[in-house]
């Protein structure tokens, strides 16, 4: 008899893991810490002329809601 596979569920990323993911992404893509990235992001350091032209910025920025 065939068995139904349970639907996969989304894992919950807790606060510590979220910060670790964010910090690792900043270090991987931009060679800076997550904290340094947030400071630079808030200071609009990536906005001239296009943050997407700075490789990796949007790959980190998309994760900001994980830590804010």
């Amino acid at each position: 008899m065939a068995t139904m596979q349970p639907e996969p569920r989304a894992a919950q990323i807790d606060r510590d893991s979220a910060w670790s993911l964010f910090d690792a992404a900043a270090r991987r893509y931009l060679r800076m810490s997550g904290e340094e990235f947030l400071k630079a992001w808030d200071a609009n350091s990536f906005s001239d002329p296009d943050p997407d032209a700075h490789r990796g910025v949007m790959d980190v920025a998309i994760l900001i809601p994980l830590v804010r």
Partner: protein, 183 residues
């Protein structure tokens, strides 16, 4: 994919995406508490970070690293129905050995970037070489994760994690097309 509650809507959205990821990896998708209606976007991403993917053709083929992230919101459709709306996405592969980005699909219409359309970046690891590509945003349509994973298997020779991967992708692709909120 609608759900009776915000939580169920998120799970209904994630389930097919997770099946897609399982076609190439055992990596698990996770959300950072994002199962409630909020004016701030939520994030869906690989819960343990970027995932190394093996390639067919022998153990000597260099691995690639998969990254996937989405920002989303949960909408109340009324009548007890809730739906997840994608607000932005990135999906990309990098060289595992050197860490160079190969290519990245981005869509982030609500960000401070002036580029509003879905786009493809061909990066250093793609070894294109032309200066014009260094900062180019190559326009694309919205990219479904199913299409990206099929490209990885067929075009990049990423090793499938299950034999029926094409069947799984076609099934989830059909679900995606029936439920997406854009043409």
């Amino acid at each position: 994919m609608p759900g009776a509650s915000p939580y169920e809507a998120v799970q209904a959205c994630v389930a097919p995406l997770q099946r897609v990821i399982f076609c190439v990896s055992t990596a698990v998708l996770g959300v950072g508490g994002g199962t409630y209606i909020s004016s701030a976007p939520h994030v869906l991403t690989l819960a343990n970070g970027p995932e190394r993917l093996g390639r067919t053709g022998g153990d000597g083929r260099p691995e690639v690293v998969l990254s996937v992230a989405q920002q989303y919101a949960i909408r109340d459709d009324g009548g007890g129905s809730h739906r997840v709306q994608t607000l932005a996405y990135t999906c990309k592969i990098d060289e595992a050995a050197e860490g160079h980005e190969i290519l990245a699909y981005h869509w982030h219409p609500g960000s401070i970037s002036p580029v509003r359309y879905p786009q493809l970046h061909l990066c250093f690891g793609a070894r294109i070489g032309r200066e014009e590509f260094r900062k180019a945003h190559l326009p694309t349509g919205r990219i479904a994760l199913e299409d990206f994973v099929q490209f990885l298997i067929e075009g990049f020779e990423v090793r499938p994690a299950r034999e029926d991967w094409l069947e799984v992708l076609n099934r989830t692709r059909q679900e995606f097309r029936e439920n997406r909120s854009w043409a």
